[in-house]
């Protein structure tokens, strides 16, 4: 039960120290590459960049990535490596998908096993998984250089090169081999046609012949390592890491979890080493780990240790609703008594879970994947018990419980600045972070980065919840339907990509006669949310770091607030939790909490 999450987190923490050290070594350019690599690296190096140049380089690269990605998906039907003859996706789906993978979100309004060719999987998905993940990584490196007062932010192209060549590709190769050993396919063949053991088990065709079982295969093992290492999360298959080909065994599931966490955790160590302030980094590490344990513990408690309440017995409840139009201002709403179904749920809620990963694997994975904005899933989040659904949402709302590689630390930095500002005032000095005074400009940038996330989640959620756009797309009633809408925008804004996947947001092929009715609305809305929530919250902190870099270093005195002790850990934890709660509590109450407290089942 608890051994799986503990095993995962302890292993990853142990690995993160040597790994983080290696990453700092790479990003500080202390390595000496072989000649041909050096040759390419020198071609890429355009010299030291200030924050504006770094940002321009980053945005330019992303723009080009958008164009290339769009071209690949648009031309899918005409490109090679398409054994199953996948056609052209609808324009809005292409926009959404390109945006989604470029922004490291990997929100999927399509189903990989039904809609993409092998060429798209390799040429578009795989490539974006490497580069978009590297972007977040580079941003963190640039910000660290600013925080430690370097005269420049580094060189974007060189940083990208370092991350991809010295970090992502080697680790991916190792992981790819390990995962293939567990059973992940690595083939360019099309679907396998299976004659079932029982004739007609898959039904019969109109001509009376038994239907075969069709099994989609592909270069899965190439995509899986970076899907997790880069906290991308876009599944080769619709069921993502719940699919037996993406995640064949408990061991592959364990490896996957470690893969998801390893970079985000190592980056904290890298942060400490590059800043030469390990104590501060360890405080952040501890705070994140505490929050992670909270998230995972909550999910396991409510999902693995509780049965699915939809099947259990419920007492009759009479609620008094305040109603101005009823006599006495009160109206009663009865929730009838429900008898329990004879289901032995000792393993917890099994709906949407795979058995081979272990009992608490679904809840654990849900916490991991949303803590670090991966978005890969090994169980269907939509079917999590109501309160357990809070865990993935919280992960995405806070977006800094480790957080995506690079981006999580950057988000934490924003909370840090807010915390430092308020707490710093309380020691009677102008707040300082790492010896630099935090003043109006820094706060402006920090608040800008902080603002985007709640606005991009709550605004569109409200809009869609009130209109048919949202209500017409949900496949669960009442508060759970609301949760699906809320989850979708949380996922888009956090660049997570997981979903309460019951939401009808798939249009499919361009010539689809009966697409999900509001899928274009979802494509466009989440696409825009992903773009805004990706770039503003990384550009603002780069500017913030640059602004701090330019400041004079204030000496440390007994009157300075320490950022490397237990008190500060509480400040940070308090800031994240308080701000998070204030922003998202009402939404959480209307979604999962209302579902949990309200009648189960709800109508139908």
């Amino acid at each position: 039960m608890w051994s799986l999450p503990l095993l995962i987190i302890v292993t990853t923490i142990l690995l993160s120290f040597p790994f983080g050290r290696y990453l700092a070594w790479i990003m500080d350019g202390k390595y000496n590459p072989p000649g041909w690599l050096r040759w390419i690296e020198d071609r890429l190096d355009t010299g030291a960049q200030n924050w504006k140049q770094y940002t321009v380089a980053l945005m330019l690269f992303n723009t080009m990535a958008f164009v290339v990605g769009y071209a690949v998906l648009q031309l899918q039907a005409f490109l090679p490596l398409n054994p199953d003859h996948r056609g052209t996706l609808s324009p809005t789906t292409i926009f959404n998908t390109v945006t989604s993978f470029m922004t490291n979100t990997n929100l999927q309004h399509y189903s990989g096993d039904q809609h993409l060719s092998h060429f798209s999987q390799i040429g578009f998905i795989l490539w974006n998984m490497f580069t978009s993940a590297a972007v977040g990584f580079c941003v963190l490196a640039a910000i660290i250089r600013g925080l430690r007062g370097d005269s420049h932010m580094g060189n974007y192209y060189k940083d990208m090169w370092r991350v991809i060549v010295y970090a992502f590709i080697p680790v991916s190769l190792v992981m790819g081999v390990l995962l293939m050993a567990e059973g992940q396919p690595m083939t360019f063949e099309g679907q396998a046609q299976i004659a079932t053991v029982e004739d007609g088990a898959m039904g019969t065709a109109p001509d009376g012949k038994p239907n075969p079982q069709m099994i989609v295969r592909g270069p899965v093992a190439a995509i899986m390592p970076i899907k997790h290492l880069g906290t991308n999360g876009g599944g080769f298959y619709g069921a993502n890491s719940a699919h037996p080909y993406e995640n064949p065994t408990a061991w592959s599931n364990f490896l996957t979890c470690v893969n998801i966490l390893i970079f985000p955790l190592s980056l904290i160590v890298m942060f400490g080493r590059m800043l030469n302030n390990m104590r501060h980094a360890m405080v952040i590490y501890a705070v994140m780990t505490i929050m992670f344990f909270g998230m995972a513990g909550w999910a396991i408690y409510w999902d693995t240790l509780h049965p699915n309440p939809g099947l259990t017995a419920h007492e009759m409840q009479t609620y008094e609703a305040a109603d101005a139009t009823a006599p006495g201002g009160k109206r009663t709403i009865d929730s009838p008594m429900i008898a329990g179904l004879p289901v032995d749920q000792e393993l917890g809620n099994l709906e949407g879970k795979e058995l081979r990963f272990g009992t608490s694997a679904g809840a654990t994975f849900a916490a991991i994947t949303t803590a670090v904005t991966c978005g890969s899933v090994n169980c269907m989040h939509d079917s999590l018990n109501p309160l357990a659904g809070i865990t993935p949402m919280t992960g995405m709302w806070l977006n800094c419980v480790y957080g995506g590689k690079g981006v999580g630390m950057v988000n934490m930095l924003v909370y840090l600045i807010v915390g430092v500002f308020l707490a710093g005032l309380m020691v009677g000095r102008t707040p300082e972070y790492l010896g630099k005074k935090v003043e109006a400009r820094e706060m402006k940038l920090a608040m800008l980065a902080l603002l985007i996330h709640p606005i991009m989640i709550l605004g569109p959620t409200g809009l869609f919840a009130a209109l048919d756009w949202g209500r017409g797309a949900t496949n669960n009633p009442g508060s759970h339907g609301f949760s699906e809408i809320l989850y979708e925008f949380s996922s888009a804004s956090a660049n997570n990509g997981s979903g309460f996947e019951g939401l009808g947001d798939t249009y499919g092929y361009y010539d689809n006669q009966a697409p999900a009715p509001f899928s274009p609305h979802w494509d466009i809305a989440t696409g825009l949310v992903m773009l805004i929530s990706r770039y503003i919250p990384i550009i603002a902190p780069i500017a913030l770091a640059a602004s701090l870099a330019a400041k004079k270093l204030t000496p440390f005195t007994a009157g300075t607030m320490r950022t490397d002790n237990v008190t500060f850990a509480f400040v940070l934890l308090g800031t994240v939790l308080l701000v998070g709660a204030l922003l998202f509590l009402p939404a959480a109450v209307l979604g999962p909490v209302a579902e949990h407290l309200g009648p189960l089942p709800f109508g139908g």
Partner: protein
Amino acid sequence: MNAHLRANFLLLVVTIVLCCVVYPAILFGIGQTVFHDKAEGSLIYDKQGKPIGSHLIAQPFSGEGYFQPRPSAVSYNAAGSGGSNWGANQYLLRERVARQLGPIVKYAGARKGQPVGPDVEAWFQKDQYDGKPGIVAQWAAAHGTVASNWAKADPLNGGYVLAWMNDHADDMAQWKKDNPDNAAPKPEDMAVTFFSSFSKVHPGEFPSAVESATADGKSEKTIQPVKAGTDIQGIFFDLWRQEHPTADLEPVPADMVMASGSGLDPHITLKNALYQLDRVAARRAADTNRNVNEVRKEIEALLQQKKEAPLGGLVGVDLVNVLEVNLALRDR
């Protein structure tokens, strides 16, 4: 800006070459040589070399002589994958589980081992629910979505409703008056009205597919009002349960009635397999005219031999791979 463009372009080309050509090529090479079978999808072939399944993908089994995998929200279609995505407050989830439970649930306690199904049928035939007559009408009214799903589920069902719609012009006219927005109602729109009407005409009966021989000797499925059968045991189990909340029933292992995330989970728990063991053994014994207990023992030994647990049992309970066990059963 020129330097930017040049470096950007170079980065683009270099990363495409490395990430999309070199890296997958290496993995493809290793996969095809070192892990060839796995790389091709862990397929299982029969003696003719035809693929008959994959170790990793659940295959449906409906025969009583086979163990059955977990229910699949995608009907075991491995060209797609996914879960039901139904939350706890979705009645359809409860309904799906109840429908599956009805025909298999047994009593515990004093009547241990006896199936509940016949009791459900007997209760259904009395046609009294909540002190009022008309179980089917009440069921359709309370669970409109389930009723209309019934009409959608099978062309036969839809056709039956359509025939009713053509025969009941006055009911149709009334419905159209109440629902002015829908000019051309489909059978699923009419399901509730249909069942209400059906309930009056056929108290204690439910329209169900019945196989019968046609004139030319072929078998044909038609919808007939029936008094018993798995449909009634399944569909009305939840209603029966509401009127018999204290009935002492033996709980069914959850993985037997709850769908997996992928819809392709190849495993069931050992507990689930043992629950199914009686049925499988009885059928196998009947087919081969052997002693049930002996067969049961053999199959149990097979299960024990085939059982596996995640990470050696550290993180989960004992499981068996349904396809592997069933293949072993078939090949015995």
